[in-house]
């Protein structure tokens, strides 16, 4: 399986994603420069975390106009697998590939720590290696992860099983106390209607090696690899 990790100026988790794909998953991986216009050779695209263009206007607002984003949009419309992590998720929102927007965390500052996430839908390309209701321990690291969307779309997301991950307590209970950033309905990750585009605030690449304290992020990588192999 061949991954492409898209690099925007100001991305800073691209090397982390590359490391995990190359050294832990032992799959093929390339960096995809933001000015490239052909991404058809990849089986999965990763939009990594960071501060693309400094996040100066709004997170992801400038990155979405990079030449590569048109190619990413075409790729996604054609059913290609796209995962946006943290800033990558914000870019997917700004680009309209996923619905909704990000507000500042309700605590008004950056938060970097492990959180617990409940897998709400385990029959997606991104979560098929998990069981529904399984709790994953994966870090977040962001200042704007307070997901918001209009009521109608939220209902759609809920009804179509497109809310993939929700912030929860270690026992899986979803409540206000387990919501680190104020996100609507404790949403940590969502998919598009075709489930081939996945955006999430937590960083699975930071929880893919035992030495780093958790391997729960592997669930996501293993799922997408199983999905690809099953399909291919």
């Amino acid at each position: 399986m061949k991954f492409g990790v898209v690099v925007f100026p100001g991305s800073n988790c691209e090397m982390d994603c590359y490391h995990v794909i190359d050294k832990v998953l032992r799959e093929e991986v390339d960096y995809v420069w933001h000015q490239e216009t052909d991404v058809s050779r990849y089986d999965c695209l990763v939009l990594p975390g960071g501060f693309s263009y400094g996040d100066y206007l709004r997170c992801g607002a400038i990155a979405r106009f990079s030449p590569v984003m048109e190619a990413v949009a075409d790729y996604a419309r054609g059913g290609g697998l796209v995962i946006g992590i943290c800033n990558g998720f914000q870019i997917l929102l700004e680009a309209g590939l996923l619905p909704g927007a990000m507000l500042r965390n309700t605590c008004l500052h950056f938060i970097c720590r492990f959180v617990d996430l409940r897998v709400e839908n385990a029959s997606t390309p991104w979560t098929n290696a998990a069981e529904a209701g399984q709790v994953l321990r994966i870090p977040i690291a962001h200042n704007e992860g307070n997901y918001t969307v209009d009521a109608g779309t939220l209902r759609e997301l809920q009804e179509q099983g497109r809310i993939i991950l929700r912030y929860c307590a270690p026992d899986g209970t979803v409540s206000e106390e387990s919501n680190p950033n104020g996100a609507m309905d404790n949403i940590a990750g969502i998919c598009n209607e075709g489930f081939n585009v996945f955006g999430l605030m937590p960083h699975p690449e930071r929880a893919s090696e035992a030495v780093l304290g958790s391997t729960d992020g592997m669930v996501i990588w293993e799922s997408v690899m199983a999905h690809y192999r099953g399909r291919g």
């Binding site: 100026p9 100001g10 490391h19 870090p139 690291a141 930071r206 780093l212």
Partner: protein, 727 residues
């Protein structure tokens, strides 16, 4: 001219030296450059002679002091670059930007050497936590570090925070950065090769930070109406991130001969230092510098606009260099060339405005300032803690310490920093040292910053020895062998004999400890004039220690790992409450003598601990420092979520055993069967080993002195800082 040089802060003697060196009177621009380059900040004129006694060599030191950062060889073709610096004054003026640009500067120092920055640590000192000013500065500094550091994708993995009224007007913001590189990538801030191009990379130049030199500006341009000049530099972490990537790519492609960041005194400093180090001259055409606004030549020379680098490039590589910069969206402009001789010549639209020997700018005067032991020492040292009445409820006293501003959890701070990015952090902040694995090897680095200034205030020589020893001890407790250190020396006005005596004694203590522990000093920074209204801060030397863990599996943290382990104390506890946190928090006193330090015992305790870790006997380790063994035990319990039941047999008063800050001690846990070996290791080094009891349960119980629920201690520790800062 007489008035001008005085206003610029030069002495008459210095002015005469300049005239002698040039063989003529300097013009105004030249004089301004000398005034900056010969300032204490750039020239180290008061400290250089004293610093010369520090040991700086070891077989593995690739670069000692004098460059942008120190570099050590860690084997396997890899090297580590690190340095600490202060950004105290800018942070007191504008805490967010001051701290942010402090990070920017130290990070540039590291990648300037060819290393990829892999971690930052920030030792911070604030005033009374109850004052609104402290809260404002604290909030701003933390936000600035987070805002800049998080954007760069360099994890902030440690540092320390102390609150003391002596920092009320003069907070300290020290920043340390550490980077890793292959040994061949090491590059220096040197200009070589006549005819090579001098290239300016990065941000455009504006009037940032010119406020400090506004006297000259007003002298020179007072006929014009000047806008109020911004003296606050504003950081642009996005450009810095691009600079890191572009410079590392340029170095990897071997396109640069020299690289230097622009910091204090901007282009003046970068050009004169690179030329002087390379023993060459330089011609600069100032009008080629890309500007953000209209500026005079002198302003361009001294502007401290951030995120700029100076590179020396062979003409045949120029096109490729500009190409790489273009790819990263960075401006790169040839502003001059390396010339024969040693003259720094600066032109403005063809007219020569500066012509001075570069080396005379880069190496200023050296002073041997008068030093005199200050009077306060007799008074504070004569205090005898045994005269005090101690509180009866020791559990409550421990809780008070746990929730006090200096000992409570710093989680609310380090959770605002991205401490995980780059996937190297394997022991998180909150332990003794941060541990960073080195990908592609079995090794890891342990890094710690320390400096208890109350000890240094009470005894500068001993206090600084303790800072070095404690920093090394923290590295050891994390499983590392200390290799080398950097420092930041924060003091008051060196022209006052009492202050200079503190400085001299502190450096002497550092040198003696470093020599005994065989730890070279590879880089450092001096910050003088940390005083307001005639009152100086406590003398505050801060140590940044780097150690190597040969096998990352041997990394340690402080947490009691499980129930049923033996809890042992390595090292001896004495009746030493002088200068302690207990004395400060409970009795409001900063007095007495700091704890003794026997370097032979210190080394013995450290080698015992490291050997116990290597042999797999020791399962957790924590250095005993502020708050004594009681606070250390509490922290081990809280970190592991495991209690302990301990019986202590001592002739000391309970309060002394619990809260004395005797040096050279570790709290360790181990399995019963490991005890004989650890006893042997300790005995061979004359180190005491006392088994205190067992881990287990959900309470920390020590004799009938302490009985507290772990959850309760944890809650108090964790909630304290947020509560204190809310006011």
């Amino acid at each position: 001219m007489a008035e001008l040089y005085e206003e610029l802060g030069l002495t008459e003697g210095e002015y005469r030296d300049i005239v002698r060196l040039l063989g003529r009177e300097p013009n105004k621009v030249e004089l301004g450059m000398y005034s900056l380059m010969w300032s204490e900040h750039c020239s180290y004129k008061s400290s250089r002679a004293v610093l010369a006694q520090l040991p700086t060599r070891a077989s593995y030191v690739l670069q000692g002091p004098g460059e942008n950062a120190g570099v050590i060889d860690i084997g396997g073709g890899l090297a580590v670059a690190f340095k600490m610096e202060s950004h105290n004054h800018p942070s007191a003026v504008e805490p967010y930007q001051g701290a942010a640009t402090g990070i920017g500067g130290i990070v540039r120092d590291i990648f300037t050497m060819g290393a990829r920055p892999i971690a930052c640590l920030d030792p911070l000192r604030f005033g009374d936590p109850a004052s609104p000013r402290t809260r404002y500065l604290f909030g701003g500094v933390i936000a600035g570090i987070a805002g800049y550091g998080n954007c760069l994708g360099i994890p902030t993995v440690g540092g320390d925070i102390y609150f003391d009224p002596c920092y009320e007007e003069n907070i300290l913001v020290n920043v340390m950065c550490i980077g890793i590189m292959s040994k061949e990538s090491l590059i220096r801030g040197q200009a070589t090769g006549v005819g090579n191009a001098v290239v300016l990379l990065g941000n455009r130049t504006g009037r940032d930070g010119i406020g400090g030199a506004s006297i000259l500006a007003s002298q020179e341009f007072d006929e014009k109406s000047q806008e109020k000049r911004p003296s606050v530099q504003v950081g642009d972490p996005f450009t810095e991130k691009l600079l890191i990537e572009a410079c590392l790519e340029l170095l990897e492609k071997k396109l640069l001969l020299g690289l230097q960041d622009l910091g204090a005194a901007g282009i003046s400093c970068a050009c004169s230092e690179t030329a002087a180090r390379g023993g060459v001259g330089m011609r600069i055409d100032l009008e080629k510098v890309p500007l953000r606004e209209e500026m005079e030549p002198f302003e361009i020379m001294i502007s401290e606009s951030q995120e700029r680098m100076l590179a020396i490039v062979e003409p045949r590589n120029l096109e490729e260099v500009l190409g790489v910069c273009g790819k990263w969206g960075l401006s790169a402009v040839v502003i001059g060339e390396v010339t024969e001789g040693d003259a720094l010549k600066i032109y403005w639209h063809g007219e020569k405005v500066v012509d001075v020997p570069a080396s005379t700018l880069a190496s200023g005067p050296v002073y041997d300032r008068p030093a005199e032991r200050p009077d306060y020492l007799d008074e504070v040292q004569s205090f005898d803690p045994s005269t005090l009445r101690h509180p009866e409820d020791l559990s409550q006293t421990l809780l008070r310490l746990a929730g006090g501003p200096n000992l409570c959890s710093r989680r609310m701070v380090w959770e605002r920093y991205d401490h995980m990015v780059q996937l190297n952090t394997v022991v998180y902040p909150g332990s003794d040292a941060a541990v960073l694995r080195i990908k592609g090897t079995s090794k890891a680095l342990a890094v710690s910053c320390d400096g208890n200034s109350r000890y240094v205030y009470l005894d500068p020589y001993l206090g600084t020895q303790i800072a070095v020893a404690e920093s090394a001890r923290n590295v050891v407790a994390s499983g590392g062998v200390p290799m080398a250190f950097t420092n930041c020396l924060n003091f008051g006005n060196p022209e006052k004999p009492g202050i200079f005596w503190q400085f001299r004694e502190a450096v002497r203590g550092m040198a003696d400890a470093a020599r005994y522990l065989e730890l070279p000093v590879v880089s450092g920074n001096v910050s003088f004039y940390n005083e307001s209204f005639g009152a100086a801060i406590y003398p505050t030397p801060v140590i940044g220690m780097v150690g190597l863990i040969g096998n990352a599996a041997h990394r340690m943290d402080i947490a009691f790992p499980q129930e049923g382990l033996a809890v042992a104390l390595l090292g001896e506890t004495l009746d030493e409450l002088g200068g302690s946190e207990y004395l400060w928090l409970v009795h409001g006193m900063a007095a007495g003598r700091p704890p003794r330090l026997d370097l032979r015992l210190e080394k013995g305790a450290q080698t015992t601990c490291i050997e116990g870790i290597r042999r797999g006997i020791i399962l957790s380790a924590h250095d005993c420092s502020e708050g004594g063994v009681a606070v250390a035990l509490m922290e081990c319990c809280c970190a592991g979520g495991v209690g302990a039941r301990l019986e202590v047999d001592t002739e000391l008063k309970p309060v002394s055993w619990l809260f004395s800050e005797s040096q050279s001690r570790f709290v360790v846990t181990l399995r019963e069967e490991g005890l004989p070996t650890l006893r042997e290791l300790a005995k061979a080094r004359n180190v005491q080993l006392e088994v205190l009891g067992r881990t287990g349960g959900d309470r920390l119980v020590i004799n009938d002195w302490i009985d507290l629920e772990v959850a309760e201690m944890d809650r108090v520790r964790e909630e304290a800082l947020e509560r204190i800062m809310r006011g």
